[in-house]
Structure formats: structure tokens, C-alpha cells
């Protein structure tokens, strides 16, 4: 493999992986606080369609991102309300969010266009690449890291800040504590209810914005099924990253890179079955899952939050 090939794979992987990183970090926040939200696909696709529609109508990509974030947050709010306040099953509620999201997105895609028409096929505003002078021409990494759009650049801040927040700050400590043991957190005076709401909504906002990156930059425009199951990849990535924002980047590169490599290999005429390559991230996720379940040390250090998926409410005292 020559250098150009690696450079271009890295560039595509970064570009393709950006939405995955954002949504994965959002879901990491949500799961870290103990809420499993299987509605990522629904929130992303709603972010994609509303983000594109808003940007199209105002001719402002940033407004699109804003709307996408709000819509994603609202969808997550529904999940939070159903599971935290109404104590509904988290799995079913998450699937409901995905079902509602894909249905609603498809519906909105047909009516949010000009004069109540369809959005499909419209060319709207999109993010342009902002090459960073000097850095973007670096060998190997220049193209991938320094010739991207602002959303990708934002990850340079989002990833380390998320990591720092989670592990080095008091709110981060409380956030992790709630996900590990809601009852213990409650006993030491951490407001479980409020934090679960807050981080579930934050996860939705990030998924929404991630969706808008697809419709405003990666594959500009709106088409049915634009997210193509990326929301489910995010669920896998959270495990792959073992609930750590920094590792989410590695996972997203892998998933994003698999696509890029596949295109290149096909172009080169290599005969490796593409689905085997596509399957590898999922298989790897299962391997990671088995490892963090089986190895005591791994489970305790990087395993799932102990309180994930477990509803919490104070027992009524007699």
C-alpha cells in the first residue's frame, strides 16, 4: 500500500467517523448515567432531516445544526420521561424512539420542502472544508486531520473535554456514580433524577447534531434512510469504546475506515468479500464484550456501568 492510499483512507475514515464519534460520546454520557437509549438511530435521522430542512430554509448550516440538536434532545427527552418518570422499559422505549424517529423523519422529508413538498433531491447549503494552512499539507495526517469541516474540527475540543469532564471533574464523578449505583448516589445526596434526565437529553442533542453532519456535510442533502443504521453502530461503538470518550475515536475510525478501505480495495480489484470486512467491527465488539464480561479486572476497570438499564426510584417507606 502506498502512502497516498493510507492518506486518503485516513481522510475518509475521519470524515465518515465524525458523526459516529459525536453520537457515541453522547450515548456514552447517557449510558454512564445508567440509561440505555436504543433510540440513537431515530434521534440521528431526525437530526439529519430537520437539520437539513432548517439549513435549507434559512440557508444557514449552523442554524441547521442548532435545530438538529434541539430535535435530538427533544426525542431523548421523550425517552427520559418514559423511562425515568414513567418507569417504562428502557429497551422498548428506545426502540419506540427509533421507530418514531425513522417514521417521522421519512414523513417530514416529504413535507418540509418548499411549498410543503419533498426535501429529497434538493441541494441545500453544506459545510465546506476549511483546510488549515500549512498543517493540511502534512504527509499522512494532513488531509485527514487538517482538511475537514468545522464539525470535524469541533471534535478536537469535544473529545478531550468529554474525557476530562467525565474523569476529572466533580459533575463527572457524580455522573459516573449515578450510573454505577443510583441508590448509593442518592444516599450521598446526588440528585439521581435530575442527572439522569440531563445526560439522557445531552446524549440526544449530540445524536441530533451527529445526524445533521450527515445531511449537511458527509452526504449533503436528504434521502430516505440517510443514516443507514449508523445509530446501531453507535450502540456497538459504546461497548467497543468501553464507555470511554477517547476510545470512541478509535472505534469510529475503525468503523469509518472499514468503509474507506473497502472502496479502495474494490477499486484495486482485490477480491476480499466486502461483508467479511464489514462484519469485523461487529465481531470485534462481541469479542470486547466477552472480554469485559469474563475478565474480572477488565469488568471492574472498563466494564459496563453497574447500574446500566436499572431503573431507580426511592422505595416508599412503610
Amino acid at each position: 500500500m502506498d502512502l497516498d492510499l493510507v492518506t486518503s483512507i485516513l481522510a475518509i475514515a475521519t470524515f465518515a467517523g465524525a458523526s459516529l464519534v459525536l453520537a457515541t460520546i453522547g450515548e456514552i454520557f447517557t449510558e454512564r448515567v445508567g440509561i440505555l437509549n436504543l433510540g440513537v438511530e431515530g434521534m440521528m435521522i431526525m437530526g439529519a432531516v430537520t437539520g437539513f430542512a432548517a439549513a435549507y430554509r434559512t440557508n444557514n448550516v449552523w442554524f441547521g445544526v442548532l435545530i438538529a440538536g434541539i430535535v435530538g434532545g427533544l426525542m431523548a427527552l421523550v425517552h427520559a420521561f418514559a423511562t425515568i418518570t414513567l418507569r417504562a422499559d428502557q429497551i422498548v422505549s428506545g426502540l419506540a424512539i427509533t421507530l418514531l424517529g425513522t417514521g417521522l423523519a421519512s414523513f417530514l422529508g416529504q413535507i418540509l420542502g418548499p411549498d410543503g413538498g419533498a426535501l429529497v433531491g434538493l441541494t441545500g447549503p453544506k459545510f465546506t472544508k476549511w483546510p488549515i494552512p500549512g498543517l493540511s499539507s502534512l504527509p499522512l495526517v494532513g488531509e485527514g486531520l487538517f482538511n475537514q469541516d468545522p464539525i470535524v474540527y469541533s471534535l478536537f475540543v469535544v473529545v478531550p473535554v468529554s474525557w476530562f469532564f467525565l474523569y476529572k471533574t466533580r459533575p463527572g464523578l457524580y455522573l459516573r456514580a449515578v450510573g454505577e449505583s443510583a441508590s448509593t448516589s442518592d444516599a450521598v445526596g446526588v440528585d439521581v433524577f435530575r442527572r439522569r434526565y440531563g445526560y439522557t437529553v445531552l446524549g440526544g442533542v449530540m445524536a441530533g447534531i451527529a445526524g445533521s453532519h450527515l445531511s449537511l456535510s458527509y452526504t449533503p442533502g436528504w434521502t430516505e434512510n440517510l443514516t443507514g443504521g449508523r445509530g446501531w453502530i453507535v450502540i456497538a461503538l459504546v461497548i467497543f469504546a468501553t464507555w470511554n470518550p477517547a476510545r470512541a475515536v478509535v472505534g469510529a475510525w475503525l468503523f469509518g475506515g472499514v468503509n474507506a478501505i473497502q472502496f479502495r480495495l474494490q477499486a484495486e480489484g482485490t477480491n476480499l468479500p466486502s461483508s467479511i470486512l464489514n462484519m469485523s467491527p461487529y465481531i470485534l465488539t462481541i469479542v470486547v464484550l466477552v472480554l469485559i464480561t469474563r475478565t474480572d479486572k477488565l469488568r471492574q476497570t472498563i466494564g459496563a456501568p453497574a447500574g446500566l438499564g436499572i431503573p431507580y426510584y426511592r422505595e416508599e417507606r412503610g
Binding site: K168, T169, R170, P171, G172, L173, Y174, R176, A177, E180, S181, T184, S185, A187, V188, G189, V190, Q300, T301, G303, A306, G318
Partner: protein
């Protein structure tokens, strides 16, 4: 307002005056008075249900008392009356509670756990500085821990240290320890005793809740004994013997008069031969126990909770596999067999946790009635259930034990505790009835069978057990109620530390002697 001269040796830091706390139908505390001095170790002794936990819940702000007053002098020199509105408020006032089930997050480091509970944690964590402070506090009070260690890697004793450190870090100067030794090994208990002494020496006051006479004598300066929600006495430990405390704790011997014929002993029904088994934490919980239970007798199992009763019962019912020794039920060696073999082999089991283990609360009574018999005719035939037979059996058992309300299709969780117990008894006794025909007596293992029941239900349960004895079944009854054990049992085996300290005749053994055995002392 009572005030004591600051600096005097007996300066009070806590005074709970005439505390009364009522719950619907129960008076948990009635005019209870508790005085704690600065730097003393004060034991709060009493049987289960004596009102210890309620009193401490009042002290740590969880419950509001219905009467009486609370005075503290933790952050100041003179006692002030105070109303604690919440646990947070109590923490603020300098009271630190160490629960029996630790409030720690296993995946967090010691420092993170301490910071989680602290009020002055800065927005950006400074684990290094916190670690240094934890180390410093630890050294001052003889509580060595590594602030960077993850809690899951620590032993239970170390985790308890972290809990205590957490309270000290918050600035608590009164520590309440809820049955602190219940989860500890003897060595860890001794270490805790030393820690308590060094804490007390540096001015921290300690209240520890206990129902173990041993540790009260060993660790405490003074002890307040609660009985039936009232203060029985507050005494200096040096002035009393274990026997005195036992008498204060359980009161005068009150013997229920129970009509009980002499035992008509049958064949050996349940034989444990040098059985050893591990507990959930892979520590030996049942240590080399040999027991023989014969048809027509009730063998009582006495002991302070947590001394191997749970594991022994699980071994007897096939729910736990022993690591050594053998178990014979009605002549069949069932060592290493599973629960289903024990059920088939003739062991009935009234478990301690009714809704957690004995019943499926959301399922109707019918489904609960057939829990043990669903595999056999007429309840099922060739893997199909027989609805009619199930209904007949349910109706019959519900009527026989007067389970109310007796709608067989209603969920079991709708029953009161007493009626749940009646339902379980009905089912288990029905199982032994089927087997009692013939020479080999059936085995009935009843665990805390009357716990939490009202008087009427207690009577029914006791009658049922005696009736089983009369018809020749071998009954094992685990209980914490010494009166109950003494009136019902033909023999009492006393457990301590997973071992049988002795098997005694209740007619010739005083309650004090039982208390000593429970405390781990063999009778001479």
C-alpha cells in the same frame, strides 16, 4: 437545657430524650433515652425489632420523632436542641452513619468515593490533594488505606475503613456503626475494635448497633440496652457480665405454655455428616457440621444472624453444594445433588424470604401452590398441567390454612405477610404429607417461620410445626426467637461462626446458657 462543663470527662455530645416514634400499628420507640459522651464507644444492644435501627434513623435525620427531643454538642461545647430534617442536615451537624451495606461504588477509587460524599469537593477534582488528606486522616486514626486503590479490590474490612474515613473526611465527630461486625471475619472485627478505640481516644464518639454480646463486652465503654422499643438500661460495661446483658436484652423468661406431647422418635430423616460449605464470598460459612434429625422431633437452630444459618439451610435443601461431608435424606445419599433431588427426596422448605424466594408475587395463588408439586401427578401428566387438579389443590389448601383473601386467581403479592406464610406452609406441608406415608419420615426445614407475623399467624405457624412433629415428620426450625426455640424444640443446636457450639435440651438449658453458646462459648 442540660449543659455540661466543656472539657469534663463525661461531657455529653448527644442526648436523645424520651424519643417516641410510631409507625402504623407499631410503636418502634417509646420514651427512649440515649446519652453519648465525647470520645466514648457506646453500644446499642437489642434483639431484632427492639427499636435500635429506628432510634438511629432518628439520629441520622431519616425519621422525624413523634415525641421527645434531640440535643447535640458536636460542633460546639454545649448541648443544643436541634431538629434534624434530613440525612444531609445530620451530616452537616457532624453525624456520620456507616451502614451495614456499604454505600461505596466498587469501580471507583478510595479517593473518588470519599470525594463523592464530601461537601467541599471542588469542580475540578484534585485527587492528589484529596489522597494526601485521606492518608493524613487515616494515619491519625489508625485507618491505613491506599487512596488510589479501587474499592472492588479491597477486603470487606478495608471497605468498612473507607466508609469510616468518608465520614471523618466530612468532619463527622459522631459515628454510628450499624452492626459493623456482621460482615467481618473475627480478625477484621478485632481490627475494627482497635480502630474504634483510637477514634475514641482522639475524641470521636461512637455508637455501634449490635445484638452480639461478645463484641459489646469487648469493644464498648457503655451500653444502652433496648427491649421492645423501650430503654431497658444504660450501664458501664465493666460493671456487667455477659449473662447480665443477655437478661437485659431478652427480659424475664416468658414461656408460652404449649401443649406438647413427648417426642415419639422415628427413624433418622436428615443426616449431615461433617458438612463444610462456602458462603457467597467463598469463605467457609458452614464448618464441619454433623447433625441428625429424626422423625417426630423438632430440632431448633439457634444463633445470631449471619453465623451460617442461611448456608446451612441451603445445604439441607440442595440449594448449595457442600465442599466436604455428606448429606443423607431418608436413607438416600444426596450429597452433591441439586434442589430438585432434595424436593423429590422429601425435603420441604419454608424459606426466610417469603416474597423473594418462597413465592412469585405477581403470579396467582394457583401457580404458587404448585411450585413444588407441578412435576407430579395429578398436577401434571406427561408434561401437561392439569388445570382442574391445580384448582382443586389450591382451593383445598387455601381452605385448610384459611388463607385470606382466598381467591386462587389473585396474585400472591396481594396477601399479607401472615397469609403468605400460611400459603407457603400449606404448600410445603402438603408436600411432606404426601411422603409421610410409610416408615420414612419427611423433612421440613422452616427458616424464621414466624418473623414479622402477628400473634394469630404465629399461633397457626407454631401449631402447624408441632402437628408435623406429631405425625412423625422431622422438623428443622431456624429461629432468632429464643422463647420460640425453647418452647417448640426438642433439641436446640446452637450455631456460631459456622460451627455447632453444642446441641442442648431446652428443658434443662437456661436462656443465659443459650446466650453464651450463641456468643461462641462452649458450656463447661
Amino acid at each position: 437545657m442540660t449543659t455540661t462543663q466543656p472539657g469534663t470527662q463525661h461531657q455529653l455530645v448527644v442526648e436523645m430524650r424520651d424519643i417516641t416514634k410510631k409507625f402504623p400499628g407499631v410503636i418502634a420507640n417509646e420514651d427512649v433515652t440515649l446519652e453519648v459522651r465525647r470520645g466514648e464507644i457506646h453500644a446499642l444492644l437489642g434483639e431484632n425489632g427492639a427499636g435500635k435501627s429506628t432510634l438511629m434513623s432518628v439520629l441520622c435525620g431519616l425519621y422525624q420523632p413523634d415525641g421527645g427531643s434531640l440535643h447535640l454538642a458536636l460542633h460546639q461545647d454545649e448541648l443544643h436542641q436541634i431538629v434534624l430534617r434530613s440525612p444531609r442536615h445530620a451530616i452537616h451537624a457532624g453525624i456520620g452513619m456507616v451502614y451495614q451495606h456499604f454505600k461505596l461504588i466498587p469501580t471507583f477509587s478510595v479517593a473518588e468515593n470519599v470525594l463523592l460524599g464530601a461537601e467541599d469537593t471542588p469542580t475540578v477534582l484534585d485527587l492528589k490533594q484529596a489522597g494526601a488528606r485521606i492518608k493524613e486522616i487515616g494515619e491519625r486514626f489508625g485507618l491505613p488505606v491506599n487512596p488510589e486503590a479501587k474499592v472492588w479490590q479491597l477486603s470487606v474490612g478495608e471497605q468498612q475503613r473507607v466508609e469510616i474515613l468518608k465520614q471523618l473526611y466530612r468532619g463527622a465527630s459522631l459515628l454510628i456503626l450499624d452492626e459493623p461486625t456482621a460482615v467481618l471475619t473475627p480478625q477484621e472485627s478485632d481490627a475494627l475494635g482497635e480502630t474504634m478505640h483510637s477514634l475514641a481516644a482522639s475524641g470521636v464518639s461512637i455508637v455501634f448497633i449490635s445484638h452480639k454480646l461478645d463484641e459489646v463486652i469487648a469493644y464498648a465503654d457503655r451500653v444502652t440496652v433496648l427491649r421492645d422499643g423501650k430503654t431497658a438500661a444504660t450501664v458501664d460495661v465493666v460493671d456487667v457480665t455477659k449473662a447480665d446483658l443477655a437478661r437485659l436484652m431478652v427480659g424475664r423468661d416468658v414461656l408460652f405454655s404449649v401443649e406438647k406431647a413427648d417426642a415419639d422418635l422415628g427413624a433418622d430423616a436428615l443426616v449431615l455428616d461433617h458438612v463444610t460449605a462456602l458462603g457467597d464470598r467463598s469463605v467457609t460459612a458452614v464448618n464441619d457440621i454433623s447433625l441428625t434429625v429424626r422423625g417426630g422431633e423438632i430440632l431448633g437452630i439457634a444463633g445470631v444472624a449471619g453465623n451460617g444459618q442461611k448456608e446451612l439451610v441451603e445445604v439441607m435443601t440442595g440449594l448449595r453444594t457442600p465442599t466436604a461431608g455428606s448429606i443423607t435424606v431418608r436413607g438416600n445419599d444426596l450429597t452433591g445433588k441439586s434442589a430438585i433431588d432434595f424436593i423429590r427426596g422429601g425435603v420441604a422448605h419454608v424459606p426466610a424470604d417469603r416474597l423473594g424466594q418462597g413465592l412469585a408475587g405477581n403470579l396467582p395463588l394457583t401457580d404458587n401452590v404448585i411450585l413444588k408439586s407441578f412435576r407430579s401427578e395429578p398436577i401434571s401428566r406427561r408434561s401437561f398441567l392439569n388445570k382442574k387438579a391445580i384448582h382443586e389443590l389450591s382451593t383445598r389448601l387455601i381452605a385448610a390454612f384459611n388463607v385470606l383473601p382466598g381467591n386462587p386467581d389473585a396474585p400472591a403479592s396481594g396477601l399479607s405477610g401472615g397469609n403468605q406464610q400460611k400459603l407457603i406452609l400449606a404448600r410445603e406441608i402438603d408436600a411432606t404429607d404426601r411422603l409421610a406415608v410409610g416408615d420414612e419420615p419427611a423433612v421440613l426445614v422452616a427458616v424464621y417461620p414466624t418473623r414479622g407475623l402477628d400473634v394469630g399467624a404465629i399461633e397457626i405457624v407454631r401449631d402447624a410445626l408441632l402437628n408435623q412433629r406429631a405425625i412423625g415428620a422431622a422438623v428443622v426450625m431456624v429461629s432468632e426467637d429464643l422463647d420460640e426455640l425453647r418452647t417448640l424444640s426438642d433439641r436446640i443446636a446452637v450455631l456460631h461462626g459456622g460451627e455447632v457450639m453444642g446441641i442442648v435440651d431446652p428443658k434443662t438449658t437456661s436462656k443465659d446458657d443459650l446466650g453464651l453458646l450463641m456468643a461462641g462459648e462452649r458450656l463447661s
